[in-house]
């Protein structure tokens, strides 16, 4: 799946992406995978198997709630929704991520004249 056009994930970013994907509505695991591909414009690659340990971890931390329901093809699937704690965590993580990005861009965009 991975090719040169896709950026590899920084450690810690997978959790943030999952929370973001789940914030847009209840999804099953495969749906989260597709949603991340969709919202990142296919630029971020996730190893499919690695998704589930992350989901379980977030569920255990109480950031995601789970419920069994029917999928679009009427198959039994486990749906993940963002809990209140998850929503709070998403806000905090997103804010600190923005800060990091801004700082990194500023640092990388610096020219000799500015120093």
């Amino acid at each position: 799946m991975a090719n040169s056009k896709e950026a590899s994930l920084l450690p810690g970013t997978l959790d943030l992406l999952i929370l973001k994907a789940a914030s847009l509505g209840p999804l099953h695991g495969y749906g989260i995978l597709l949603r991340i591909g969709q919202i990142s414009g296919g630029a971020l690659a996730i190893e499919q198997g690695a998704l589930y340990p992350a989901l379980y971890r977030l569920e255990l931390q109480g950031l995601l709630g789970t419920e069994w329901g029917a999928s679009e093809n009427n198959r039994r699937a486990k749906f993940y929704t963002l809990t209140a704690a998850g929503r709070k965590r998403l806000r905090e993580e997103a804010a600190s991520w923005q800060k990091l990005v801004a700082a990194m861009s500023a640092a990388l965009g610096a020219t000799p004249e500015e120093i």
Partner: protein, 880 residues
């Protein structure tokens, strides 16, 4: 158990959900791939490939869920079993050492539990309660048996009004019946006692309500199954008339086999509580509202809480008490049904029990130190395995858990062995105790004893297992990988081993020193001259109370018997005494009166009631003044006539030596001291020794009085002749005979038992310590074979090398001994009352114990060390 089951079912559910979720993912992906034009089979294969190693992820998911804990435990257990099976000799000796320690602990617990806490041997004992009541405040309350017993009036008041529980009452007495040649043991029962406890008649019926309604109402009796077989050979006895305590009774029934009532001693028969007067004709308790003598039991209906019962009965008890003594208040306690859980017995007994459990647990401590040492020693041969596993990435915690599982398993095996060994220990201790009579004490294991043993075993497992496990998984084990093992200095472990040896030596020293002190005390007690006769006195006690004698009649009977016995061949003198000599006296307070007539502060005295010739018969010298005379005796009143004889010790301390003609005050009474007798030392070690006062026998004491018969020659014919003499005076009188030697043995049994028990504990600890020392020295010299070989090859004389080895191995033993001796010196103060004047710091006790300990330890070290020296130096060096 239930939570374990929950864990298992939860694990199964989580596992299923995980499988379903991942299957859904693969299927959804395959569906999408199929839409791009792949065949369903290709799409499925492709989806699986994209997912990555599915089993690896499942494992990771299980880890996230913390599923492994219980699986790990099961795996560890299987591994531990395999490991222990691989070295059965090791497992057996380690578990054996723990079993010894646990056996000692469980044995003590079993005995204490059997007496204090075990449910009663009756039908459905869980719903039986002991109801204890007592009073506080001004006014006299007489207590017979325990101060937590109720009077008949109080018992009657409570049973008539309680709605929450069914109450029953019980008491005990000795009886004489014409049908039995020996003294019978009876239980006095309320009408519902037998049915309430689940007894059924084997013949006839039990008591009716009418028969038990009023004092003296109906003279009826129920026989125990054994008494029925013994005295009536199983004949039809219901309705038969018998004479008990000179009173005509009717036997109404027989209790079925196996029922022996709610008390420790098995009764021969039951009579109604209302017939109490036949057991104490001259001063019956049943009519005295402030004399407590009835032990109350209750049967609780399901759903009724003890709190509710207590609330109701406390109110009723208060009303019952104030009805006869307004100034007093009642206190009522609801306890589980058990033999002796009287509040005062528990309050006094539990601290003693705790100290005893601590002392008995010292052996277990020594056993734990021993096994920890064995584990560390054995572990060193496993270092390579452990090191490989550590280097392959096994977590240290995980390894510790695994080792600990193995060690706890050893502890549990020891616990199982200990449970069986405890039974042997209990039996042997019971054999050493003075006989108690037919009783239903039960010390065999039940769930509480098993649970206690398992808890102790697990605790012991943790105690020896954890230090060993931690020590064995130290990071420096990686050095073990370097090859032949010569680099394993294991300094930390050597230190651990030395401390463990020191612990064992300390425990051994502590126990051996105490054993030495107690043995010395027991020898001293046996050899000491207590100031009175220790042999050739026969104590004969007629059953006058049971035969309804009045004090005046008893006095006449005893005087007649005295004359007849005095005339028997071989009898040198005869005297009357109110209390059993050696073991019994009554405690009292008395005030010496100064010549000016002022009373000095009260002092505690032991008072004896005696007749003329007592001092001569007991071989106590009369130092000053005169003996008690026949004219001093009085059967008319309970108050002794106004003369007293005191011991020379009493005279020396309070009257400056010459005490004849001085006065003593007891309450409103005054006594004149007419004589001074030689000092005596009490043999009963556990009672504090008070100053002795001898007074003439008086009043109801005549009903308990005994004749002391000093004799020469054979005892058996004399006993027969004395009984014949008594029978001539009254055909129903039975003499209970006991040689004074037996009384002396009874009095000394406690110190003998204590000395024996502590000596046995000390021997066990010493055995364990010497086995431990042997093992450690053998292991140490094994590890230093090359060094020893080198020293020998370089010309060191073997004795010098031996000395070096021994010095190093004995150091922890000496350190431990010093610690143990210090602890013994501090603790021996507690033993003072048992020591019969032997100093708690008795040098003989201390040195002999330490010499024995050092000698055994040295022997345990010399054997393996000498074996190492016999090795050919060349061969060990070639091995390099």
């Amino acid at each position: 158990m239930r939570s374990l089951w929950h864990k298992f079912t939860r694990r199964r559910r989580l596992e299923r959900e995980m499988r379903d979720e991942l299957a859904f993912h693969i299927q959804a992906r395959a569906d999408d791939l199929a839409r791009t034009g792949l065949t369903p089979a290709e799409a499925q294969r492709c989806a699986l490939l994209e997912f990555g190693g599915i089993e690896r992820y499942k494992e990771e998911l299980r880890d996230t869920r913390r599923l492994p804990l219980i699986e790990d435990l099961l795996r560890d257990l299987a591994y531990a079993c395999r490991n222990l099976r691989r070295s059965p000799l090791f497992a057996l000796s380690a578990a054996g050492a723990i079993a010894l320690g646990i056996a000692v602990n469980t044995a003590l617990f079993s005995v204490a539990y059997g007496i204090l806490f075990r449910p009663l041997p009756v039908h459905q004992p869980q719903t039986v309660r002991n109801i204890y009541m007592t009073t506080r405040g001004e006014g006299t309350r007489l207590a017979y048996g325990s101060r937590y017993f109720a009077s008949f009036a109080e018992f009657h008041y409570l049973t008539a009004r309680s709605h929450t529980v069914e109450l029953a009452g019980v008491s005990e007495a000795s009886l004489t019946a014409r049908f039995a040649p020996d003294v019978l043991h009876a239980q006095l029962a309320s009408e519902n006692l037998l049915p309430m406890l689940g007894a059924v008649p084997a013949q006839g019926r039990f008591f009716t309500r009418e028969e038990c309604a009023t004092p003296g109402g109906a003279a009826v009796a129920v026989l125990s199954y054994e008494a029925w077989q013994k005295y009536f050979h199983g004949d039809n006895v219901a309705g038969r008339s018998v004479v008990i305590n000179r009173t005509p009774f009717t036997i109404v029934g027989v209790a079925a086999r196996g029922f022996h009532g709610p008390l420790i001693l098995k009764p021969d028969l039951w009579i109604p509580l209302t017939m109490q007067a036949v057991t104490r004709a001259s001063d019956p308790l049943v009519t005295n509202p402030s004399a407590g003598w009835i032990q109350m039991l209750a049967r609780v209906a399901p759903g009724t809480s003890d709190r509710k019962i207590q609330a109701e009965l406390a109110v009723l008890a208060e009303q019952a008490v104030t009805a006869h003594t307004p100034a007093q208040h009642a206190q009522l306690i609801v306890s589980p049904g058990a033999f002796l859980n009287y509040p005062d017995v528990l309050a006094n007994g539990i601290p003693v029990l705790a100290v005893l459990l601590f002392v008995f647990s010292l052996v277990l401590l020594a056993a734990c130190a021993n096994v920890a040492n064995m584990l560390v020693g054995r572990g060193m041969s496993r270092v390579r395995e452990l090191a490989i596993r550590l280097s392959l990435g096994a977590g240290r915690r995980r390894l510790i858990r695994q080792l600990l599982t193995e060690h706890m398993l050893l502890g549990l095996l020891g616990g199982i062995g200990g449970l069986f060994a405890a039974q042997v220990a209990v039996r042997s201790v019971m054999l050493a105790m003075p006989p108690l009579g037919e009783n239903q004490l039960d010390f065999s294991p039940d769930w509480s004893i098993v649970l206690w043993t398992v808890l102790v075993a697990l605790g012991a497992g943790l105690l020896f297992g954890l230090p060993a496990a931690i020590s064995l998984t130290r990071a420096d084990l990686a050095q073990a990988m370097r090859g032949d093992g010569k680099d394993i200095r294991g300094r930390g472990r050597t230190r651990l081993q030395s401390s463990l040896i020191a612990i064992q030596a300390a425990v051994s020293a502590l126990l051996l020193i105490n054993a030495g002190l107690l043995l010395h005390a027991a020898r001293t007690a046996v050899r000491m001259d207590p100031g009175f006769a220790l042999d050739h006195v026969l104590i004969a006690r007629p059953n006058l109370r049971a035969l309804q004698y009045e004090p005046r009649q008893a006095a006449q009977f005893l005087e007649a018997l005295h004359t007849r016995v005095r005339a028997l061949p071989g009898v040198s003198s005869v005297a009357l005494t109110g209390f059993a000599p050696v073991t019994d006296a009554c405690g009292s307070m008395m005030q010496p009166v100064s010549p000016e007539g002022a009373a000095e502060p009260s002092i505690r005295v032991s008072c004896h009631q005696i007749g003329p010739g007592f001092f001569h018969t007991m071989r106590i010298p009369l130092r000053q003044g005169r003996d008690i005379q026949a004219s001093d005796l009085t059967a008319a009143a309970d108050v002794p006539s106004s003369v007293a004889i005191i011991s020379s010790e009493f005279a020396r301390r309070y009257f400056g030596g010459n005490a004849v003609g001085r006065r003593l005050r007891q309450g409103k009474q005054e006594f004149e001291t007419v004589g001074v007798a030689g000092a005596t030392t009490p043999l009963v070690a556990v009672q504090p020794s008070y100053l002795e006062v001898y007074q003439p026998v008086a009043g109801t004491r005549y009903l308990e009085a005994r004749l002391l018969i000093a004799y020469t020659g054979a005892r058996a014919p004399l006993a027969r002749a004395a009984q014949a003499a008594a029978s001539q005076l009254d055909g129903e009188v039975l003499l209970e005979m006991e040689p004074i030697e037996q009384q002396v043995a009874k009095a000394l049994s406690f110190v003998r038992l204590a000395a024996g028990a502590v000596a046995a504990l000390g021997a066990l600890a010493l055995l364990l310590a010497s086995a431990g020392i042997y093992g450690v020295v053998a292991f140490a010299v094994g590890r230093r074979r090359r060094e020893i070989g080198l020293r020998l090859a370089l010309g060191a004389p073997p004795p010098a090398v031996l000395r070096l080895l021994l010095r190093q191995s004995m150091r922890p033993v000496w350190i431990g001994s010093v610690i143990g001796a210090a602890a013994a010196a501090a603790g021996a103060q507690l033993l003072r009352s048992l020591l019969y004047g032997v100093s708690p710091l008795d040098p003989l006790g201390f040195t002999s114990a330490l010499v024995v300990l050092s000698a055994v330890a040295l022997l345990a070290a010399v054997i393996p060390a000498r074996a190492a020296l016999r090795v050919d130096p060349a061969s060990t060096l070639r091995h390099e």
